[in-house]
């Protein structure tokens, strides 16, 4: 067993479950009626969504004055939430594309779920710019289409780059996800005894018949998609960071923003995936597919990206001092000691200090402990976006226009609604589609590949 031989590597799936058992266990949630816990969970998330929807309707009817956004802080919570959710959406494609290119087999158990989460998170994120414009039905103007004004959109604006980046990301993530689902749809089609389900799966599996003449092209497509999705996932949060970095607001106008945003996005995304997977593996008995080893690897990624984010924070302070630019220096001192110091220190402790506990192997492998730390990471990353958006705007170059930003009840209701929206989709996902890729897991079980094939 040499480590360079992938097929002989230690299995990422515990034990050596028969292939049939894998298919059974993964498709069981789809074949059983949802239990009472599911209904309780979905009623909670739907209530949250409903509260958010009411807040949105009020905001659109009475106007955005219902929010805490004020004159210097025009971006407020909608943009904080946008960046937060886009960030959550970064783990999925990272797991499915980058780890695929790096031949990390442990990704196979979690990739499908993480991709699904990506799509839902990007959908949630995509709502926020529309919400923020106040009249979302006019969002069509963001598209370059020939119109009676004979005017085109501003292609040199980072806000427009965002439109392209986020919509491309959503589309490509969806395609990636769907391509991964095709063989599983075929498996489900062949298992199901329900006529309606059979028709649905027959159509969605696009006539797949597990043919190796197809697998060959399928694997090539998967490779091509992974190859494109990798730079794409890096570009999306880079472009989101351009929204800030291209402006001249102190605290935003820095070149460290793109890498630091991407690291932060991966950080928060992994934390969210880890959080939800802990529930999934427990509820659906996937402990041997999504093993503690896999979770430990995710915690290592959290530790690494947490330190990258921490490096970003310290570099911002260093550059403020080293550049000698006074407003820059003021902004960073203001962040750490000004009126938003509370948010800043929540961010530092959740993002930089708590993940350091993952240096200890015992903590990395303790489910309850890692869950709590990842929750803290999510809280911290939300506050990171809050600190970036709000502190810089609330105190910029003109002291006479400084103002303190306080989110209103409507703001908080919309934030709550976004969580409800996201988790409603997650819950529906767990009952309608296989949350673990059947074909991919089968392919990494010990003994599933020829023992003396040459690679």
């Amino acid at each position: 067993m040499t480590s360079s031989d992938y097929s002989q590597e230690l299995s990422v799936i515990e034990g050596r479950p028969p292939l049939r058992e894998i298919a059974d266990i993964i498709s069981r949630p789809l074949e059983t009626k949802p239990d009472i816990k599911f209904y309780i969970a979905i009623s909670i998330t739907l209530t949250m969504t409903g509260i958010g929807a009411i807040a949105l309707l009020l905001s659109f009817y009475y106007g955005t004055g219902l929010w805490g956004n004020n004159n210097p802080v025009g971006w407020g919570l909608p943009i904080v939430n946008f960046v937060f959710w886009v960030g959550i959406g970064h783990a999925g494609t990272l797991i499915s594309a980058i780890l695929f290119l790096l031949r990390q087999k442990w990704r196979n158990g979690i990739a499908r779920f993480a991709e699904g989460m990506t799509i839902f998170a990007v959908m949630t994120a995509g709502l926020f710019p529309l919400i923020h414009v106040g009249r979302p039905w006019l969002a069509g103007y963001l598209m370059p289409y020939p119109n009676q004004h004979s005017l085109w959109v501003n292609f040199t604006s980072p806000l427009l780059w965002d439109v392209f980046a986020v919509s491309t990301y959503l589309t490509v993530s969806f395609i990636f996800w769907y391509v991964g689902l095709i063989p599983d749809f075929a498996s489900l089609r062949d298992r199901t005894k329900n006529k309606i389900k059979k028709v649905i799966y027959s159509v969605t599996s696009l006539g797949w018949r597990h043919s190796n003449r197809h697998w060959q092209h399928y694997e090539m497509v998967y490779l091509v998609l992974a190859g494109f999705a990798t730079p794409l996932v890096l570009s999306v949060h880079t472009i989101v960071s351009f929204d800030f970095a291209v402006s001249i607001v102190p605290g935003w106008h820095t070149t460290i923003f793109p890498p630091y945003f991407v690291a932060g996005a991966v950080f928060s995304g992994f934390a969210m995936v880890q959080n939800v997977l802990i529930f999934i593996r427990k509820i659906f008995n996937y402990e041997h597919i999504i093993t503690v080893d896999t979770l430990e690897k995710m915690n290592k990624v959290l530790l690494l990206t947490g330190m990258m984010v921490g490096y970003g924070y310290s570099m911002e302070f260093f550059m403020a001092w080293y550049s000698g630019v006074q407003p820059e220096q003021f902004v960073f001192l203001n962040r750490a000691m000004g009126p938003y110091a509370w948010a800043y220190w929540i961010m530092i402790s959740c993002n930089v200090i708590f993940p350091q506990l993952f240096w200890v192997r015992r903590f990395r492998r303790n489910i309850k402990f890692m869950f709590v730390v990842a929750v803290f990471v999510n809280v911290g990353m939300w506050f990171e976006r809050f600190v970036i958006v709000v502190t810089s705007l609330s105190r910029d170059y003109l002291p006479s226009s400084w103002a303190y930003f306080t989110p209103t009840l409507t703001d908080m209701a919309i934030l709550l609604g976004s969580f409800g929206f996201f988790f409603t989709f997650i819950l529906l996902f767990t009952k309608t589609l296989p949350v673990v890729s059947i074909a991919e897991v089968k392919s990494v079980i010990e003994g599933s590949q020829p023992s003396h094939g040459d690679h």
């Binding site: 097929s7 292939l19 298919a23 009817y61 039905w137 004979s150 005017l151 085109w152 501003n154 292609f155 040199t156 980072p158 427009l160 780059w161 980046a165 491309t168 589309t171 490509v172 395609i175 990636f176 391509v179 063989p183 075929a186 498996s187 062949d190 298992r191 159509v203 599996s205 696009l206 006539g207 018949r209 043919s211 190796n212 003449r213 197809h214 697998w215 092209h217 694997e219 090539m220 497509v221 091509v224 998609l225 494109f228 730079p231 794409l232 570009s235 472009i239 059947i438 074909a439 089968k442 392919s443 003994g447 599933s448 590949q449 020829p450 023992s451 003396h452 094939g453 040459d454 690679h455």
Partner: protein, 377 residues
């Protein structure tokens, strides 16, 4: 079973090693129309089946590049030729600012087109039916078996030979697969289909009519035609006191104004206020201009109280009376600032400097009717 045609013979294997071996042998024997079905991609199968590498990578390259280039041309045309606009002092052809969008378009076109190519060219979408579907063979290979299928369309196909060949390879459950020739005519003018078309037409046209003629006139979709604002001559106000104008915040003054020290105290104003301006030509000209605009309608062009509004309005007393002539400049300034009897305050029409200039002009008028000997010198 006369209408059924033989599609091929299938056999199942239990391990990946066996299927690789079987595929190798089938390929070596010279069969070309055969397929291997496995629940997941088995490593080394391409080689065993002697398949050439997938060409989809080229599709990605071609579609990605053509998407990129065409969007680049489009961008150039839009921003440089069709509607050049200076944005942020950048040149019309601001290439660095085009890169993010171009990159996204490259990724989008390459990914979408590659997947569509795979689905249409290799999976033959939208044709999603296949003789192998719904066979026990398919139900096995989609779970945990590895199967091989030799098609009847192969040149070397011979029913009994293939059967024994599969058995030789160690295949289990060797079974024939048949398919039925589909000979169904699809009628376009079926009532159901017509009904569907009508339904779609009604929904689309109704929806369009509703959104263009009704929805666009409803709050909040009506382009902000209804707004919370104060309209002149309208008794509706946003404020509890029914006034539209707001008082300045307590303790603040508007830019350029100074509070008037002698409010309600004309005598103190008369004693303490001195005219800060000199009776220069410029000041007198200014005073004349402002007097003619604001004072003359009542006081008359020469201050005699013979206004153009004579009879419609109580006439003011003449400015040539002893009382007016003996008033100090400060006392007159107070009268202009605060008003007197029916005369309103002129603070909003005349700023302090103009008031003092008007006073100089009034003095000149007074002198014109009551000249002194010394004026002749």
């Amino acid at each position: 079973m006369s209408d059924k045609t033989l599609y091929g013979y299938t056999g199942l294997f239990d391990t990946p090693d066996e299927i690789i071996n079987a595929a190798n042998t089938v390929a070596d024997k010279g069969y070309t129309r055969y397929d291997v079905n496995t629940p997941y991609p088995v490593h080394g199968m391409d080689k065993a089946m002697k398949l050439r590498p997938s060409k989809l990578g080229y599709a990605a390259l071609a579609f990605g590049l053509s998407g990129l280039l065409s969007f680049f041309v489009l961008l150039y045309w839009m921003l440089v030729i069709d509607y050049p606009l200076v944005i942020g002092g950048k040149p019309f052809f601001a290439f660095p600012a085009f890169i993010p969008v171009l990159f996204e378009v490259l990724v989008l076109s390459a990914s979408v087109a590659t997947v569509i190519t795979m689905i249409t060219v290799y999976f033959k979408f939208p044709n999603i039916s296949h003789p192998l579907h719904d066979t026990p063979y398919m139900k096995n290979v989609s779970v945990d078996k590895y199967g091989i299928c030799i098609e009847a369309a192969d040149e070397k196909f011979n029913e009994s030979e293939v059967k024994s060949f599969l058995a030789e390879l160690g295949a289990k459950d060797i079974a024939p697969v048949y398919f039925e020739e589909v000979d169904e005519e699809i009628k376009i003018l079926e009532p159901k289909f017509i009904g569907l078309l009508v339904l779609v037409a009604v929904i689309v046209s109704g929806g369009t009519y509703f959104s263009l003629n009704k929805l666009m006139f409803m709050i909040p979709f009506n382009w902000m035609m209804q707004q919370e604002k104060i309209i002149a001559q309208d008794n509706k106000s946003l404020f509890a006191d029914d006034f539209a104008m707001r008082q300045p915040v307590r303790g603040t003054i508007a830019r350029g104004t100074m509070p008037y020290k002698y409010a309600g105290n004309p005598d103190a104003a008369g004693e303490n206020l001195k005219n800060p301006l000199l009776p220069t030509v410029g000041n007198l000209e200014l005073g004349k201009k402002k007097y003619n605009i604001y004072c003359s309608p009542c006081h008359g062009n020469y201050g005699e109280g013979d206004s153009r509004l004579k009879g419609q309005f109580p006439n003011p007393p003449s400015l040539h009376s002893d009382k007016a002539r003996t008033w100090t400049d400060g006392r007159i300034y107070h009268a202009i600032t605060e008003g007197q009897n029916v005369m309103p305050a002129y603070t909003s029409q005349l700023d302090p400097e103009e008031r003092w200039a008007v006073i100089h002009y009034v003095r000149a008028l007074q002198r014109s009717l009551n000249a002194k000997e010394s004026d002749l010198e």
